[in-house]
């Protein structure tokens, strides 16, 4: 594929707002997880006994009044993340070059604004939604895309991708195709997910939530920690001879195996990674850093490590950063792409937080310690329920 220029990128997580906060916490190995203190909607119920990656200050930042109809936790985080790292300037830049009608909005989420729907059900009045939550646009999966389109004034194709935890990795692929087909000249991609009852109690029902901060690839890992996060990137066709960050390749696949268990040999994951490398036109040994999906559930990590060792040499530095942020679900793709891009820009390769004893089943590519090294290409894996896989290759020109 023709590489796409990345004009700007950003992430906001439990580590703080914007890239500098992510970079500083990763370098200092300072995690953002805390004991679950998210209020439960059902009367008389205690929060689940687990750890979460919560974004500070979300409750205190209402949307501007012109956007008040979109008010909800997820859109507040979408708005907060949009204010970081020069995103609005980058958007203004592509609009100035191409016009708002030629810039697409392609965002990923798994929860959308479901927390607002959960709240409406907990506060029913005579069997109906309370007046302040009778807003159709926040009770549907496209709440995120619709909000960001309204907030930015972008008028190209606008879509919300919802393939569970691969959502905001797949948006890069979709935007790349839209640009390639001439349907737009640039795109705002990214994703937002916020903590809510559906994900906390849902993952708990599958017995996938750990009672401790998650320990990716540790021999004693026993489940994931959930987090909330958001991020974006502005992508555009790269000019001839121009330098800067690039999306070099994407790969997508399906496991064709099970709704909530990965393929036992990681065949789908391998397919996605091979496809991304092929599209980027590079060999496995060219990749310097791989941000793993690495949820810290016993099954995911074992299968992913198997797929990675089948494909990459021992020299690869691969890690999961979910010990810092928690599993941010539909936002994991953009957040961990931001981590991969930071590694590419600064040569600071994160290891794994909270994990002490590597699972012997995992190969030498899985690194617990941070490292410093200049790299040419960085990769990010994101896998979702339904066996939905995406892998992205980033580089520098």
């Amino acid at each position: 594929m023709a590489p796409l220029a990345i004009r700007a990128y950003t992430a906001t997580t439990a580590l703080g707002r914007g890239l500098q906060a992510q970079r500083a916490a990763l370098a200092a190995r300072r995690g953002g997880l805390r004991r679950n203190d998210l209020p439960v909607l059902a009367p008389g119920q205690a929060p689940l006994d687990c750890w979460i990656g919560r974004v500070d200050g979300l409750e205190d930042e209402a949307l501007p009044s012109r956007l008040a109809q979109w008010e909800c936790r997820n859109n507040r985080l979408a708005w907060m993340a949009l204010q970081q790292d020069g995103m609005l300037d980058a958007i203004a830049g592509v609009v100035a070059r191409h016009g708002a009608g030629r810039v697409a909005v392609v965002l990923g989420t798994s929860t959308a604004s479901i927390a607002a729907t959960e709240e409406a059900y907990a506060r029913l009045e005579d069997g109906g939604f309370p007046a302040d939550l009778r807003r159709s646009q926040v009770h549907t999966p496209h709440s995120l895309g619709g909000f960001v389109q309204d907030a930015t004034g972008l008028r190209g194709p606008c879509v919300t991708v919802a393939t569970a935890c691969s959502s905001s990795a797949k948006v890069f692929a979709q935007a790349s195709r839209l640009i390639d087909a001439g349907l737009c000249d640039a795109a705002l991609v990214g994703g937002i997910d916020t903590l809510c009852g559906s994900v906390l109690f849902g993952f708990n029902s599958l017995q996938l939530v750990s009672g401790e901060p998650c320990r990716p690839f540790d021999a004693q890992r026993n489940g994931l920690s959930l987090g909330e996060a958001g991020g974006y990137a502005v992508v555009e066709r790269a000019g001839d001879g121009e330098s800067g960050l690039r999306l070099c390749g994407y790969g997508e696949s399906s496991d064709a195996h099970h709704m909530s268990t990965p393929h036992p040999q990681g065949l789908g994951a391998q397919l996605a990674m091979r496809d991304a490398l092929a599209r980027a036109g590079i060999a496995p040994e060219d990749v310097g850093y791989l941000n793993l999906h690495g949820t810290a559930t016993p099954a995911n990590d074992a299968v992913e490590a198997l797929a990675v060792s089948a494909l990459f040499p021992e020299t690869l530095h691969a890690s999961s950063t979910k010990g810092w942020t928690g599993h941010t679900l539909g936002a994991a793709g953009i957040v961990e792409s931001a981590v991969a891009l930071l590694a590419l820009e600064h040569g600071e390769l994160p290891g794994i937080l909270n994990s002490a004893t590597p699972d012997p089943a995992c190969g030498p590519q899985i690194r617990l310690d941070n490292a410093q090294r200049t790299i040419r290409y960085a990769m990010n894996n994101s896998f979702g329920f339904g066996g939905n896989n995406a892998a992205l290759v980033f580089g520098r020109a």
Binding site: Q45, L124, V159, S254
Partner: protein, 279 residues
Amino acid sequence: MTAATTPLHATIEGIGFWAPGLPTWEAACRFVRDGELPADAPARPSPQLLAPNERRRAPETVAVALDVALAACRAAGREPAALPSVFASMHGDLAITDYMCATLAADPASVSPTRFHNSVHNAAAGYWTIGTGAMQPATALSAGDASFAQGLLDALAQLHSGSEAVLLVAYDSQACGPLAAVSPSVGVLGAALVLSLHPREGAATLELAQIAADATSAVADGPLARRLGGNAMAPMLPLFDALAQSATQASVHAGPGQHLQLRLVPAAAAIDAPTGAPA
């Protein structure tokens, strides 16, 4: 100005359709042409891809999506496992959303693990890839009332980017519970298209003429749009009315102030078309 320099186009190799009273594309076509409804139409879709016990238990959205997807692949003579797929739905499964929110409000620890994993927007895509053994990419998206149009754009872009053929599936379900007042949707509706770039005798073609401002948008007044207009996926029906009527154009809502203008070459005419699509 917003039209692509090379018009995006596709051969419609196969069509699947399911709506209350109209359980196949053939039934929908007869209804559009003659106003005729089949006798003894089944009350719900029955996707043959699933084992009988799973068929009964499958969420409504999964059932309708798998039913129309398989029908479209059979009509196209395509092996389902070979196709990348795009699944579009405005709301996903409203009955599961209602269940999840009601349970969380009352007894959150009792959430059913199966209902939870079925609550993801890509549940239908997941069951499809598992059921057919497809390791090809599958996506699931929503764009509000423009979900079908945005799904079609992604499918056309996938063909442009080198996919041999693409399966596009669109569906929405029946709203229930308190949610029905804010996210209304009546009945269950699904449709699927197998699209490719290969000219095929006896197959209709579609071409994206332009993405235009809504001012000139056609009124959705075909027989299918009138009968099934209450479903959240109804904005796709002008295309299916046009295909059933062998019309030469259709307009589909594509987002705030926008619609897709589609040029159609009906199946019968396509046989004689000098250059339907480039080889």
